[in-house]
Amino acid sequence: MAAALEILFTASFWVAAVRIASPLIFATLGELICERAGVLNLGIEGIMVAGAFAGWITVYSGGDLWTGVAVAALTGAAFGLLHGLLTVPLGLSQHVTGIGITLLATSLTYYTYRLALPEVTSPPKIEAFRPLEIPVLSDLPLIGPALFAQTPFTYLAFVAAALVAWLLYRTPLGLALRAAGENPDALEAQGLSVTAIRMGAVAAGSALMAVGGAFLTMSAFNSFFFEMVNGRGWVCIALVVFGSWRPGKALLGAILFGAFDAYQVRLQGVVGDAVPYQVFLMLPYVLSILALVAVSRRASYPRALMVPYRKGER
């Protein structure tokens, strides 16, 4: 029992928690932006796969790391525009389209992978982002290494959360975006285009999802292999609800999930094989569901979420 508790006081546990959380932070922010504008984006899982591959292949073929991030973002934005086109001006079902985007992005990625590397059996590694220790701060106990001895990609995740929060609550654009998800009529009555705002939000949100995917290949596993995203996209959908559609709370939710995940790995070591290891793998998901149930009953979702808007109709 004591050993199980001690895990919580090791620096490596907190470092791992934040690292596991980083891709989730990006993708959750991306989903949050889409949903705040009124569009559910179930393309998230596939877009993360595409982003993971796009970033990795850029670096593998000689590109610079930040170029890889940018290429991933552009790839995500392209899928986002497709999802936006189908669901916003054409008003198709957001669920069905989103699942379609996930299938399309996943299979296109594997196809491109096979085309680019026909011979490869074990996925080649790339020179990924390295940890960047921030002097003084990284010497703080526990949270020092967790927050200030990560890769620049992780720092970017925190910056992104702050920027999204600023955008949503402090800028005219954010106001318009929230209105698009609350009452599109209010937006249109003030002379703004619901279509433009929603399309923009879905493209930008999808870019963030793809960057989240790229984190996996460029700052965690350092190579690309199939099934690496492994349901992280779906976790982010739940994290948006858990965070009541607020960037700050969503960030905390992602770190909480990262902590559950890092904890279960270490707990396996302590408990040994008295309990089947699958139980531990399940743990973060079970805890997430419980947290979701506890938190989200009061959550107020965007009123116009999943409601298509057609101009000139009542």
Binding site: R170, T171, P172, L173, G174, L175, A176, R178, A179, E182, N183, D185, A186, L187, E188, A189, Q190, G191, L192, S300, R303, K311, G312, E313, R314
Partner: protein
Amino acid sequence: MTGAAAAPVVLRLEGVTKRFGPLTANDAISFALRRGEVVALLGENGAGKTTLMSILFGHYLADAGRVAVEGRPLPPGDTRAALAAGLAMVHQHFTLADSMSVLENIALGTQPLWSPRLDRGRALKRIREMSADFGLEVDPAARIADLSVGERQRVEILKALYREARVLILDEPTAVLTPQESEALFATLRRLVARGLAIIFISHKLGEVMAVSDRVLVLRAGRLVGERATAETDRHALAELMVGAEIARPDIGPAQPGPALVEMKGVTVGGLGPIDLTLRGGEITGIAGVSGNGQAALAEVLSGTLAPEAGTLAIEGRAAGAWSPRAALASGIARVPEDRHGVGVIGDMSVTENLVAEAYRAPAFSRRGWMKRPAARDFARRVIRDYEVKCSGPEAPARLLSGGNMQKLILGRALDGAPRIILASQPTRGLDVGAVAYVHARLLEARARGAAVLLISEDLDEIMALSDRIHVISRGRLSPASARGELSIREIGARMAGLGFDHAA
């Protein structure tokens, strides 16, 4: 208000035409609006008033015609251009984001989208100034969801003023206001006109039109059929112009009270009660009062959506057991709900489906659980004809109907089939004078055949004209009944303000 004949023209429409399929909603409409005047736009339900204003505002695209603001042509179908030219509109159904604050709703879209910072400080200062200047009191930090209807309307007007509108369009602004709120609105309008704004005011209430407007335009079936200076006309002439015929006042015979069909004793629920109320067959019982004093709870108890927390409810002498909407319908209670968008109709369903929504189990419309479509459609055709519901046919989606026509649809559903007990909440809100007369006639008909009618209305004239017995409701309590003609309108007004109630108890 002051005459403005010499003032410059701010808005000019020429030959504006709009068709929806076979229906011509606006037919070659031309008129001019001058600085500092209030023009009232009158017309029956479905005459095309809202459509015309939506064209001005760029929400609908006209099939023909031109609009010019201060001499410059307005590009069609472009809301942003309309706003920039100084047009602003308070819609029949408000366009506010409920979970956002007053300030956010007002500031929405007023700054370039890409500016790095929303200037809350400046917005706050301007909103405070405007509130004070025009008597539009509202807390800029409050969430819209927490505001009353009257306050929401003030926010809509502030939105217009914040953009320095020169033409303000108000689509049935008083339909949802209490009489006091309407008075406050008129005071604000007077101040606005004094500052040189021009106002287009849509209303079915002729008294209001006479009080606030300088000029009246009358639309009938999409055409502009008349224009009058308000000072040179009167209510009767306007009503005639609107419906094309004189409206006869209903003549009301003496009541022939029958047995008590509904008896409430000590009924308490939420903020209502304890109240005692008896509804007799062959009588119309009126509930007068400013809305928000318990009318909604009273209506909900009778229609079965709320069960009484204490006290007894008996229908035709039998105690009502498990009380639910279906039980209420089964005991012959027909209702005309107050909130026609929320509860009254389902927008995406057709007129027919809406009409049979409460009666789909009745043998007339179903056989062993299957719906009899042809029977339902015939019923829909009859309601459309009898109640003059203007729509493209029984299959039209209900959301395409004009506000007043939706109300007629609900009435048709409620009153058809000779119900024994009728609950009518604000049955004529938003209806034109012709339709109001028709509804009143129908309620009196029900009374004549022995039905018990509960009429809940804020319109004192309506209550006084129809009710055989009048209760005043105030803060959830009912006054004792007064018989027809027993109290004057002033005495009832005093009771509405809470006089004669024992609220301390």
